[in-house]
Amino acid sequence: MLRATLRGILAHKVRLLLSGVAVVLGVAFVAGSYVFTDTLDRAFTGLTSGAVGDVIVRPGSADESGGGGGPLGAAAVRTVPEDLVTTLAGVPGAARADGRVTTFGTFVVDRQGKLVGGGGPPGIGVSYSSGPAANGTPSATLVSGRFPAAAGEIVLDATSAQRSGWRIGDTVPLLTAGAQPRIEATLVGTAEFGGSSLVGASVVMFDARQAQQLFLDGGTGWSTVWVTAAAGTTQDQLLRSVLAVLPEGFRADTGDATSARAATRIDEALSFVTTFLLVFAGVALTVGAFLIVNTFSILVAQRSRELALLRAIGASRRQVARSVLVEAGIVGFVGSALGVGLGVLLAIGIRAVFGRVGLDLGSTPLVLEGRTIVVALAVGVLVTVVSAYLPARRAGRVPPVAAMRDDAVLAEGGLRWRVAVGALLLLAGVVGIVGGLLGWGSEPTYVLGVGTFGVLVGTALLSPVLGRPVLGVLGALYRRAFGAVGRMAAQNARRNPRRTGATASALMIGVSLVTLMSVLGASAKASLDKSLAEDIVADYVVSSVVGQGFSAAITDAVEKVPGVEEVVRVRGARLEVAGDREFATGVDPAGVVRVARPDVTAGSLETLRDGDVALSTSQAADLGLTVGDAVTTTFAGAKVEGRVVATYEPDAVLQSDVTLTLGTFDELGVPPTDRTAFVVAQPGTDRPALKRALDATVADLPLVGVADQAEFAAEQRKPIDQLLFIVYALLGLAVVIAVLGIVNTLALSVVERVREIGLLRAVGLSRRQLRTMLRLESVAIAVLGAVLGVVLGLVFAVALQRSLADDGIDVLSVPWSQLVGFVALAAVVGVLAAVWPGRRAARLDVLRAIATE
């Protein structure tokens, strides 16, 4: 039996090729997702490994929960005094102690005056220290030149140096978030920091004294102190001796613990990326499964005589069914193996897609873990075999007598069962979606996801019935436009409703998700525009182009521009409020109401004094706080007391769940960097002149931009477009597989209709007409899939928009022209899908076709 199966595969290799390709692509997506995130993981881990000392001491309190500081956290303006460094160097087991300055928001300007990096990854500024990092590894390794030895000298990480085009000896412009927004320094060397890649981040190393001047108000303190263990002393032993001498207001951690904490945070963040990518891999595999089911159904139907012969000579039902399953298993295994290989290539593609939005992995080598191979192979084989199960059962049911009959055709059973199951699934899916949106269970997102899957599969099962009206309309159009050829094409699209339905459904899945995203994206943008128009009164907005804080000196300069009535600055920091770590906004409460229209639900923002907090309505509810309650806020060991004075709905200006005064930020020692500055023009000012003056103020600071309301809205829409770009790119593969499905179905139909095609050619159908016929059939399938997908996607989108109305997407905007474009694109795809089958059909030898026994 096995030999017969193997022979079968070889005999049908062309027919199996396309379903094999579907497996390859689906598995490649799974493998590629893992390879990419493993590579990300290695890059980030490498980034942290060189960025800690054996024991790290910094301002803070011992009871501060998790996070805080650390190489990826916020830098404190509170410092460790120099005399404490001396004390730490003298504790038992310490070889030395080195004060260090670490800061964020320091960027390099390249030769063309543009920012190097940015768009997500941080621009890090550090001080030079001869001390080593944890476990004796160097904290920086020179690639060329020397380390900075005096003020005005810097070392850049090698990647940024190369990207900026600056060479040793050049004077490099730098932008900082410190008191001096723009400085210049001489490049004296390039170095590697930490592991192999900085994941798009840039590092500027200053002379220690200059770093203190730039970032720590010229004091003699440090951001952190790295205590290095003497030979034979472990990090834990050293930590104990450090803790013995550590005064109040400072905390110490071992380097290994800090690295581990950072690694955990990275893993959490990356597991989101992995899940995100695997969802799309799942979509691609589901589409691939449709293709596999279809292929094996068609192959079983076409081989029913051969299968009947096997039954007639004594093979049991089970053996026949098993032979089909084994065939599927082999196709699945070979396809999966190739898929793993392709996955590595795909990871490079995903890396490029993510690179376009700022997550630059540079030269980090791709990571292929054993787990990736095992999971990818298992998933590929499983999906193929499960998909082939129903066709295999049908194969087992071929009666032996069919071998004797001339017209051995497997009866296509009625659609009753299929409609019943499909309707049930559809209903269950709708219930799941509604439940998910209403927040049922502990994981509503999963309920929602499963519900969506149910609706998709239910609709796919119902597609032979749902497709009738669509095909009917197309058929009428075809007959009118293409006469007999159009009539036959329309009939062909309808002759195997299941086959057409399954093929169209594969495309439907991709199109429905694309539609969902495009409607949600348009709605998000429309909602954003509406909220910006409603919330912001200011005439101009100064903001960072990399979404990070910028020097307060820039805001100060903007304030002095003639024609400016008022500037209201907004700061941001991660603080602990009432024991909960939250991103907080710092504002001048009197000013904010003049540039924005905050939606205050209780209390009053004007009464916000230093130490007090305003909370979002939902945050107040979560914390169980109401206006008037006492609340404690801490940051890096500093603490302030106050009351809740107002609750509000977050909007375009007060984006976070917690709002404090700028005075509170200063009191807590939050670095004085602004996130946004809102500018109000003096009444009667010449606006274009004012805009030119504002632009000129920030001209040599490519880190910040001045935008009027329309420009600001456009800037804010950009991340939505970037997300859409990523999602479209990831869904693209599912669509490609669906298109392969159309090619596959058409090619197999051509094989099945050899005699009919021969007859048509004999009685005078030209090759061109034959190709037109197949093209029209292909377009019908593609358009059916697109129409079902657009309708389904619209339903999903409306449901999701309604449920997200409270989270900011309160405007439903349907990009109709885009949706029509999707259907038109599907028609074009249909034309392309028919090229190869059409060519094969046209090349059929008329005589052989009509002579087939």
Binding site: V485, V763, Q769
Partner: protein, 263 residues
């Protein structure tokens, strides 16, 4: 014109060979398949006139080249050498596209099996070649053909809903409705019981008698051959004889003698 009243006898009612020019003609036609060791000569220098308004049968045993001859004459297969004329058009000089149009417009086909497009109704199948060409059928002629083959009540049915005999009658109607120069029939009764077969042969016979249609039929059934005006015998790619106004006995006798001479 009912089927019963004008049923001609198997012996046919035609007179001597008509003096009209041939509807089709093959000249020094050779067809060779393969090369080297697998070289097979299917037709070897065959020259044959197919007279207009005549019902011709081509007979021979399997492998005699009779089907190849028909395929070449009908423009379905290319000759290795020689010429094939339909009227005064030399088919061997035509490009694929012109050849397709010629088959569509000037030749009718009836095959042994699988004659009809399963997705089209009987009526749509009958007018298929005309529809492909984008032409409307002549309604009076269409009605006459449909009534002749007795399919008036079956026009809306799909092939799957018709018996084998009815399907072949639809095929005959399709072959005749375009008033082709020649109708080529390849074992049209091969899959039918004798009664249905006789009906189909009757239509072909009558189209020759009443409308002057030229019909060429490949068959190995002496009974079917006896409906024709002329039987051409083929063996090993050569024309080895012919018979006018054949009877089943005469055809059988000739076949037997051919078999002997080969043995």
């Amino acid at each position: 014109m009912s089927v019963a009243e004008s049923q001609p006898g198997p012996a046919g009612a035609s007179a001597a060979p008509p003096a009209r020019p041939p509807a089709a003609r093959v000249e020094n036609l050779s067809k060779v398949y393969g090369s080297g060791d697998t070289r097979v000569v299917a037709l070897d220098d065959v020259t044959l006139d197919l007279h207009a308004g005549e019902f011709t049968a081509i007979m021979g045993r399997s492998g005699s080249g009779k089907s190849t001859l028909m395929h070449c004459a009908a423009g379905l297969d290319a000759a290795t050498s020689g010429h094939v004329y339909l009227g005064d058009v030399d088919l061997t000089t035509l490009k694929e596209r012109r050849l397709t149009e010629l088959r569509r417009d000037r030749i009718g086909f009836v095959f042994q099996a699988f004659n009809l497009v399963p997705t089209l109704t009987a009526e749509e199948n009958i007018v298929l070649p005309l529809a492909i060409a984008g032409r409307k059928p002549d309604q009076a002629w269409f009605d006459e053909v449909v009534d002749t083959v007795g399919l008036r009540t079956r026009l809306g049915h799909r092939p799957g809903e018709l018996s084998g005999g009815q399907q072949q009658r639809v095929a005959c109607a399709r072959a005749l409705v375009g008033r082709p120069d020649v109708v080529f029939a390849d074992e049209p009764t091969g899959n039918l019981d004798s009664a249905s077969g006789a009906e189909v042969l009757g239509f072909l016979r009558r189209s020759v008698d009443t409308h002057g249609q030229t019909v060429v039929m490949v068959t190995h059934d002496p009974g079917a051959a006896s409906w024709t005006d002329r039987v051409v015998f083929l063996a090993d790619g050569h024309v080895v004889g012919e018979l006018r106004e054949p009877t089943p006995e005469a055809v059988l006798d000739r076949m037997a003698r051919l078999a002997e001479s080969e043995a």
